[in-house]
Assembly symmetry: C2
Homo-oligomer: 161 residues x 2
């Protein structure tokens, strides 16, 4: 078993795998008589042969160290996870290496951060670290196969930095 240390999630370290959905340094526009900032078009759903829909995921909470053997990817659509709470959650991602995932990386979100995983990017399952594990998910609604799974020969274990 290989141990992975979860890094704090940032726009830079997550950039090869997707977009961190978080406030910019300043809003793009002030609305509502100046009382609300709009941070415009922070992440873009990328959907092939279908449409973007809003679903909810309600997951059990996990604890660290977190052990996993599987990552998956969705060839036909990006997938955004928006926590409907302020608890950190774990994000597991793997670079692609000629069609199979390489060594995974783990990130830990801060309150107020969501993610949009780029289409066809290897990632672990949703891993909240506290109840309620409630997330809005913006992903592809459509028919056809949109899931590819890969099982590693040896499990990985994620620990906190």
């Amino acid at each position: 078993m290989t141990t992975i240390v979860a890094q704090p999630l940032t726009a830079d370290n997550f950039a090869p795998y997707g977009t961190v959905i978080e406030l910019r340094d300043a809003p793009d526009q002030l609305i509502n008589q100046g009382r609300c900032g709009r941070h415009h078009d922070v992440a873009q759903p990328d959907i092939v042969d279908g449409r973007a829909g809003i679903s909810l995921f309600s997951s059990e909470a996990f604890t660290l160290p977190f052990q996993f053997e599987m990552v998956e990817r969705h060839p036909l659509g990006s997938q955004a996870f928006l926590p409907l709470h302020r608890n950190p959650f774990l994000v597991i991602i793997a670079p692609d290496d000629n069609g199979t995932p390489g060594t995974p990386l783990a990130f830990l979100t801060a309150p107020g951060q969501g993610i949009n995983i780029t289409r066809n990017t290897w990632h672990g399952v949703l891993t909240p670290l506290a109840e309620p594990g409630l997330f809005a998910v913006i992903d592809r609604i459509g028919d056809g196969p949109n899931l590819e799974e890969h099982w590693y020969d040896v499990p990985y274990s994620v620990i906190r930095s």
Copy 2:
């Protein structure tokens, strides 16, 4: 000034104006080795001449009684508000009466509830009741006029039930 009593938000009382984004009684699908429920396609963005994007709104918090004179609508797109926290927020809606808004209604959300306001539905501005007033917003990204405002002659005041 007319007083409006905020009602608890339910799928039924909000149905004429949009969709409540909340967990169904049971998930449509169990995923992640049975540890996560997917509540599939709970709300559908409805976008004309543009695309659905993910933005963030960061608003000041408001207190009740809350006084307002203005509602607005977006002819070219639905607008979903997903709270990235578990604090209730206020939802103000008005039925349309031949192109102008009628008497508004107010709803108070429960933790875990979001909304998707139907395209071209009169609504008040985002009114969180606690800090941080942080919301993911799924709405239309595109050019062209997509905002119509209406100012009531007399203000309304929203109170808690």
